[in-house]
Symmetry: C2
Subunit: 241 residues, 2 copies
Amino acid sequence: MPYELYYWPSIPGRGELIRLALEECGAEYVDVARASEQGGMEAMMRLIGDPTTAHRPFAPPVLRADRLLIAQTANILRYLGARHGLAPREEAGELWTQQLQLTLADLLAEVHDTHHPIASGLYYEDQKSEARRRTGDFLASRLPKYLTYFESVLERNPDGDRHLSGGSLTYADLSMFQTIAGLRYAFPQAMQGLAARIPRLLALHDLVRERPRIAAYLGSPRWLPFNEQGIFRHYPELDKS
Amino acid sequence: MPYELYYWPSIPGRGELIRLALEECGAEYVDVARASEQGGMEAMMRLIGDPTTAHRPFAPPVLRADRLLIAQTANILRYLGARHGLAPREEAGELWTQQLQLTLADLLAEVHDTHHPIASGLYYEDQKSEARRRTGDFLASRLPKYLTYFESVLERNPDGDRHLSGGSLTYADLSMFQTIAGLRYAFPQAMQGLAARIPRLLALHDLVRERPRIAAYLGSPRWLPFNEQGIFRHYPELDKS
């Protein structure tokens, strides 16, 4: 049975971190909310909204894997990583990879809040001045802190500086690819200013982009470009000048 | 060798979720930043700040368990849960418990941002009007959504409505205890207004509080009360009137 991914159909968002893992390991999957013959959005809303669903998730992304229903991006990736060799098997490496993923999740939440510092239920236009203030702090302080941290993780990896954890590709590397791509989309000027401090992260981005299955995916209609409904939004007034 | 917990010494914060798990399973541990003979805060800052630390964490809490150094609250709890019987052993239950914990982590991040919607590096006083706006949305929309979700998780648990996952106590139950206690501290009026909709969550809070080891811990000098430096802060002007 193919995996079933449930995620908002029009944004890459957190669902993209799952898609990248599924694509990299060549897994068969249905992107349910984008597949009208699978019930589309209605099927997803039923899954989330029906209180009788066993292990009902709070929010997408959600992965159905045979009899399992799994939510929370890092949790899904941990499951896929163990099943498809996208994470070290030994305990220390497994915990470390998940720790890095959860730190990336914290960064993504902060990226989201740059344009939605007051309420995710309000439009950006209704919290624009607060967004400017929050983004100013994010670009001056938080983003450099996160990225130089991850750069030092690569630099200090005893198995080499091409991967975040261990000597081969993990789900954390795939998520880092999407994060770097998204940050460049949202904040091109700020990322330009940071580039010299994060050469290994940028090399990791390129390494992932060129993996055969990822490259094929990025050129396929399954891939969703960034837009102004997702986590990474390009509002020029928020980018550093 | 006892566990070593590294966390800010003056707030319960996320470190408290680890302490509750360690206390419940009767584990020996040192709260390093609060123990001057273990090097106190200096030892913690060295751990976080020294780039040569293997598997260096981005932020506390951090747990040292023999040769392992683990960060990210949910990740630490997953490790402790498996080792001390604070989570189901079978895959579906293990993933579900961690999923609930990660959803609780999302809630905690939103609670933090009620008083710090612009920048964690600024004082509350410097973002007070934004805090009022964000908290308004949080109490009207996000908090009821999270709490009624968790209430329905208890209600639909096939093993009984006393625990979030399975038929016995897990680390997610312990974290929910702290979350309910913290929400009552920070937003007594709003929580009063929600009480009738979350009877099972309130019963779970009481059940955890009365467990012998937790009750002993809460009465000991090891326990840290809530204050206005942590995640849960009581600013009367933010609470619902």
